[in-house]
Structure formats: C-alpha cells, structure tokens
C-alpha cells in the first residue's frame, strides 16, 4: 500500500476529436457525431456520447459504426485542428505545474505535488483545470490519485465530465472490486490465464501470494501485476516524454527469439509508423526503437537524423541498425515499438540530389501511391514483400 498523498492527476478529454469538431461547427452539438477515416477500411477515431449511446466506440471499423448509427454525422479526421486545440489544453496544464506528461493529444498525467501551496489541494486543482477547459468549449475527466496507475483507472471510471479522487486510505476499496483487465498490462491473453486460475477481480489478485502469481504468469509479469493490484506504481511523471511522437508498438503473445523474425516485426512497425506519420501529415527527425525483453527490462534507443523522414525505408533503415547494434545474443522479446519524434508538418522538405534520382521525390511518390491504395482497398491490400508469410 502506498502512503503517498494523492497528488497525481490524469486528465482525459471527453470524446476529444468529436468535441473539437463541434467547436468548429456548433451545429453539430447534441447530434450523434462520428469522426474517423471515411474510406472502406476507415476506423472510428472518436464518437460523441450521443453516438456512443448506439454502441459506437473508437477503433471500431467505420462500416460497423455506420450500421450501428446510420443517422450519425460522419466527419473525417482533422489532425491539425486537434493539434491546435491540444496545444491550448497543454498550456492550461502547464499553468498549474511544469510536471506534465502528455500521453497523446487528449490525455496527460500531471504531478501537482509542488503546486498545492500555490493553487490548493489536488482535487481543487482538478476542478480548476476542468473549469479552464470548459472555457475552451470542451469537457474532460480528471482522476486524482497517489500514482499514475490509479489516477488513470480513476479517470476511466468517472467518464464523462467527471472527477474522481482516490485517497491513499481508499485505494483498496476502489481497486479491489475492479476486474483484472483494469490493470495495466493485462490484455486478453493474460486475462484468460487469470480467469483459469479463478482470479476475476483485482482484489482476487491482491489476496493471493505473489509467488503463486509469479509461478502462473512468469516472474516478471507476476510481480508486476501483484504490485499493481496492491495499488503500487512508482513511475514518475516525466514531462515531455512521449510528447509529440508518432509510433506503433506491439506486445507479442509469444516471446520473439529469432533475429530474422524480430527484424521483420520492426519492418512491420516501421511501415505502420510511417503510414501514421503521413496520415497525420507529419514527418520527424528522431527515430526511436523500444525493446522490452521477457524479463520486462525495457530499452529505448533514439537516433536523430539530419533530415525529417516519413518513409518506411528510412524508419526501417535506422531502427534495423539500432537493433543490430543492441545485438542481444539470445533475444527473448515481449514488446517492440518504433516511434518518431521531433515532428514537423510533412512531407519533409528535402534537399534534392544532383547525382541521384532514386531517393527523394521518387520515394515520396511511392509512399503516396501506397497510402492511396491502402486507403481505398484496406491496410493489407498492399504489403511489403518481406512481410508476407512464407508459403
């Protein structure tokens, strides 16, 4: 049990993209509104609460959303508008504490330990933030807790437009009734494994000996979940980290132990990240590879390039070299991630070459063609040959 005071805030905007669309066009207020890719394989990125009432959720295929809520208003993503509003929200956070760790455009952790003398206790700060955000025409939900994990769980429980405070003495009462899937790191796979052990709630987890969990799930994951179930999480709020980056990561059901397979997965992630960058109209200079081994040791390695990039080949070239330099003799890899930061509006301005015509413009044209084919016929319509399963 943690004895720290509840000074960590998790602020999560409610239906952020949809709400920004309402600011842009106030006539959309109060109607079911669905934001996302409008192509055949488009995905919902945000839905207003009126649309959610029909069962529409984010990450749902657009086709399904149309079936569930045919009378909704459908709007394509406008990332530049979201980025602009996100910057205003960030400015609100920064006026209360410098310790702001943005997780994405629409959520962030804040550590207000140093600000309570100035602005009052954490709950009061949470209310003031909600007020300032309301002035922007938006609502958010704030979780206030002794650590990041609990703050995030709290905000998820209080949506929408809510504020939930977990005090140190109330952690058990809050946490124990929750399902195990509320814990960070419990996906479908682990969830099933726990269910087989008869462990359904966080309380169930907290009450069995750690050793039992470690035997069932492996030392690292077992210890990790046991600690979370007790409400412990000592990750600090690190400002700037994960701010302004675009990436993709994947946790594998089985550890990867073959360099060739690892490189193939890195290529897949690089390709996905490059596609996301271009979809958002961005490019970036710093390319980061994240590797989590089976023992939960996590390594991130970044390289900053002389020019912004947004192409698969560039991202893969860098991350591949980075991975090979790590040179794990016997890799047992649980998670891989590729991300790009140091973002600028893309496609990248590029110094053209007098002597070579193969890079630069040609590569950009190829990326454009790939994007338009995938938009029209789906993500798997066109794939890199080396990602195809061997016959």
């Amino acid at each position: 049990m943690t004895g720290a005071p509840s000074n960590i805030l998790h602020v999560d905007m409610d239906a952020f993209y949809a709400s920004v669309e309402v600011i842009k066009d106030p006539s959309l207020a109060g109607v079911p509104l669905i934001v996302g890719g409008q192509g055949g394989r488009g995905v919902v990125t945000s839905a207003s609460y009126e649309a959610r009432a029909f069962g529409v959720t984010s990450a749902m295929p657009m086709i399904r959303a149309r079936r569930l809520c045919p009378h909704a208003v459908f709007v394509p993503n406008d990332f530049s508008a979201y980025t602009e509003v996100s910057a205003k929200i960030g400015a609100v956070f920064n006026s209360f504490t410098p310790l702001v760790e943005p997780l994405s455009l629409d959520e962030a952790f804040l550590d207000v330990s140093g600000s309570v003398k100035l602005f009052g206790h954490a709950e009061a700060i949470g209310r003031r933030i909600k007020g300032r955000i309301a002035e922007l025409g938006l609502t958010c939900t704030v979780g206030v807790a002794p650590n990041k994990f609990l703050a995030k769980v709290a905000s998820a429980r209080a949506k929408p437009d809510g504020l939930l405070v977990i005090r140190p003495e109330g952690v058990e009462a809050f946490l124990h009734p929750l399902p195990v899937t509320a814990l960070w790191g419990v996906g479908a796979q682990t969830g099933e494994a726990l269910e087989r052990l008869g462990l359904k709630t966080v309380g169930d987890l907290a009450h069995i000996p750690r050793r039992t969990l470690e035997r069932a799930l492996g030392d690292a994951l077992g210890a990790h979940l046991h600690s979370l179930a007790k409400g412990n999480d000592d990750r600090p709020v690190t400002p700037g980290e994960a701010a302004k980056s675009v990436g993709s990561e994947e946790t594998y059901p089985h550890d990867l132990d073959d360099t060739e397979v690892v490189l193939r997965e890195i290529l897949r992630l690089a390709d996905r990240t490059a596609g996301r960058l271009r979809a958002k109209g961005l490019c970036g200079r710093t390319v980061t590879l994240k590797v989590r081994f089976s023992n939960f040791v996590t390594i991130t390695r970044s390289r900053t390039l002389p020019e912004e990039v947004d192409a698969t080949a560039d991202l893969y070239g860098v991350t591949r070299a980075t991975y090979l330099k790590l040179d794990p003799a016997r890799p047992r890899i649980r998670l891989l991630g590729v991300s790009v930061s140091g973002l600028a509006p893309g496609p990248p301005a590029r110094q053209l070459d007098l002597l070579s015509t193969t890079t630069g413009p040609r590569r950009q044209e190829a990326s454009k063609a790939i994007d338009s084919i995938r938009n029209r016929f789906g993500e798997r319509a066109l794939d890199l040959a080396s990602l195809l399963d061997p016959p």
Partner: protein, 377 residues
C-alpha cells in the same frame, strides 16, 4: 645536425609543415616533423601523412648538416612559445636540444630511418607541368573547394577534379547538392586533357599557403601524385620554395558537364552583397536544415519559417525575366555560391522548383555554381 636561425623563420616553417601531420597518424613516426639541415645553409622542414606532404625551407647558419625527426606537436608548441631572436638546434643521441636566450630544451626524437621518402623531387620526362599565377589559383580554389563533400563514404566527391589541357585548367567539385566549376588560364599543359582528382584537404592547404604570396605556382602531375612548387615571392630570406604534394583520389568523377543545364527561361539578376546579407539574415529563421524560400518575380522575396521558432521575410530589388515561382535552397549552400562570385551583380537561372538552379556572375563565365533546390513540403 646543428644550426642557428631566427625563431620567426623557424616558426613559419614549422607551422607550415605541421599542417600535413594527421591527428590519426597511421605510423608513430608520422606524428613527427622531418628537419634536414644542408651545407648550403638551407634547412628543410617537412611532414607527411602519406597522402599529403608539405615541405618548406628556411635559411640558417648550418654548423653541421644532418637529419632529425622531432615530435611535431611538442616541437611546434615549443617554438611558438619561444621569444623572438636566435634559436639554435643541435641533435644528439636520440634527442634534440633547442636553445633560445637562457632557455634550454631537450626533446626525444623519432627514428629518422623510419621516416618515409618524401615525394617532392623533380619530375620524370613523362610528367606534366603547368604553371600559373598563385593569386589566380588561390581565387579559384576558394570558389570550388568548399563544394567538395565531407562524406567519406563517397570518396570521389571529397576531392576536386582537375581537368588540365593546354593553356587551361578547370576545377570542379560537388557534394551532390551543389556543383562549383571554375576555369583559369595556365602556361603549358599536356597534349590532351588530363583529369585527376585531388583531395579537398590538400587543396585547402594549398589555398591557405597561397594566401597573399603573389608568386607563381608550378604544378607537376605524374603517376599518382601531383606536386605544387610555390615560389613565395616578396618574402625576403625565406630561403626558397615550398612544396605541397598530394596523392590522387582513385575513381571516376561524375560527368559534371552533363549536369549543367542548357539555359533556363527564368533569370533573376540581383546585387550580390545584398543577396548575401539578406540570405544570412533570413537564414537565421531557417533552422534544423530547413530551407530559405525565394519567390522569383520583379522583386525577390526571401523568406524562412521554422516551426516553434519563428519566421523571417525580406524583399530585395531585382530584375526578372520569366514566370513568377518559388524555389527553396539550403541557405548555407546559396550563401556559399553567392560569396564565391566576384561580380557586383549575380544572375540566378532556374527552370522550376525541382530543377538545379544556376548561379553566375553577371557577364562573367569563368565560374559556375549549380545548386539543387530543396523540395518544399
């Protein structure tokens, strides 16, 4: 070996030769300076890294001719920190004694037998010899050398192409983003065109050595080596000529003539000084490798924008023939090109925002600068 000389003469010679010492010497002895005193009263000071050799001579009172190799950096520092006046050097068993005023230094020497033979002797009958004004060559080098690449993975581009033909020398360098071509008149030359690629580093040293000398340069090309003999005109008592020798870079230089466009419909004429100043000012807002944008029209608008930093814009008077459009350049490359020109006004010829643009002096054709634009996002 034993000789007396003026500290200033010695320092000049030592500093000249030391520039050939590589920080990454492959052989220990190459970190040394080779000093040879002759009966004629001349002392040669030389260094080499096997690619580049630099040798010069000073006049001295030679009591005992001989040869010694002294540790380059330390010897350089000692001489530099001596007071003006007479210095005497005497070599003993494995060491050299330096005396000046009331100071005495004894420094371990390197083995002279280990020192490689210097490629500075006269040519063979089949070598090619051309001669030119050192001021003219210095000017041409200053225009071209900085366009060479610093990327060691493209070795050929780290060099400057010398095309030697009767009466004419053409220098060309490219880092694949820009190309600089300069032509000068020479005396002599081979029957047919000879092409060699010389390392930019050696030519930078040559350019530096030629600064303000005002004499003639004799250039000797043979096998895999070019040797420059510099007569340092004007300087009294300097004791003779300096020699810079360099190996060629092996390989094929890109066919740069093919890159030069035949002529573009759009041509902008602007004052060179104003262009340099404007590009420098506006370029302050083109950070992180971002370009400056030029809107070519009756007036030239130069602008730059760095996200999260700011933007700058400036308008210049210009004469323009062609359609109005925007072309973007790396500001440093553009500045390099304009500063290499010497005319009052310069002409920028361009096809479109993606084709290489040509920068030339107005009514002047001995220097051409071809610059690849930055494609805008």
């Amino acid at each position: 070996m034993k000789f007396r000389c003026e500290r200033d003469d010695l320092l000049g010679a030592v500093q000249f030769a030391s520039r050939a010492i590589s920080n990454r010497a492959t052989l220990p002895v190459l970190s040394g300076l080779r000093i040879e005193a002759n009966e004629t009263g001349s002392v040669g000071v030389a260094a080499t890294d096997l690619e580049l050799t630099m040798q010069t001579a000073l006049q001295a009172g030679v009591d005992e001719p001989g040869l010694g190799v002294v540790p380059g950096r330390l010897f350089n520092e000692i001489v530099r920190n001596l007071g003006s006046g007479q210095v005497s050097l005497a070599s003993g068993e494995g060491e050299i004694e330096i005396a000046s005023g009331r100071g005495h230094f004894r420094v371990r020497t390197l083995m002279p037998d280990d020192y490689p033979a210097l490629p500075v002797e006269e040519g063979t009958p089949d070598s090619i010899s051309v001669e030119m004004d050192s001021g003219v060559l210095a000017g041409s080098l200053a225009q071209v050398v900085r366009s060479a690449s610093s990327d060691e993975s493209r070795q050929v581009l780290t060099g400057v192409l010398w095309e030697i033909e009767p009466g004419r020398l053409t220098l060309a360098a490219t880092d694949s983003y820009r190309l600089a071509v300069s032509e000068i008149e020479v005396e002599g030359g081979p029957g047919e065109v000879v092409k060699v690629i010389l390392p930019a580093r050696a030519l930078a040293e040559l350019g530096r050595a030629l600064q303000g000398t005002g004499g003639r340069v004799r250039t000797l090309v043979r096998e895999n080596l070019v040797t420059f003999f510099l007569t340092t005109g004007g300087q009294e008592g300097s004791g003779g000529e300096s020699v810079i020798a360099s190996r060629f870079i092996e390989g094929e230089f890109p066919n740069y003539r093919r890159l030069l466009p035949e002529g573009y419909p759009n041509a902008l004429t602007v004052d060179r000084e104003s262009l340099l100043e404007t590009v420098k000012r506006v370029g302050l807002l083109a950070q992180n490798n971002l370009p400056v944008k030029l809107r070519l029209a009756g007036e030239l608008e130069v602008s730059a924008h760095t996200p999260d930093v700011g933007e700058g814009q400036e308008v210049m008077d210009a004469e323009y023939r062609g359609e109005s459009f925007v072309i973007a350049f790396n500001p440093q490359f553009l500045h390099d090109g304009a500063s290499a020109l010497r005319t009052k006004r310069v002409v920028l010829e361009a096809g479109d925002g993606l084709k290489p643009a040509l920068l030339k002096g107005e009514d002047e054709s001995t220097f051409t600068y071809l610059l690849m634009p930055v494609r805008l996002s």
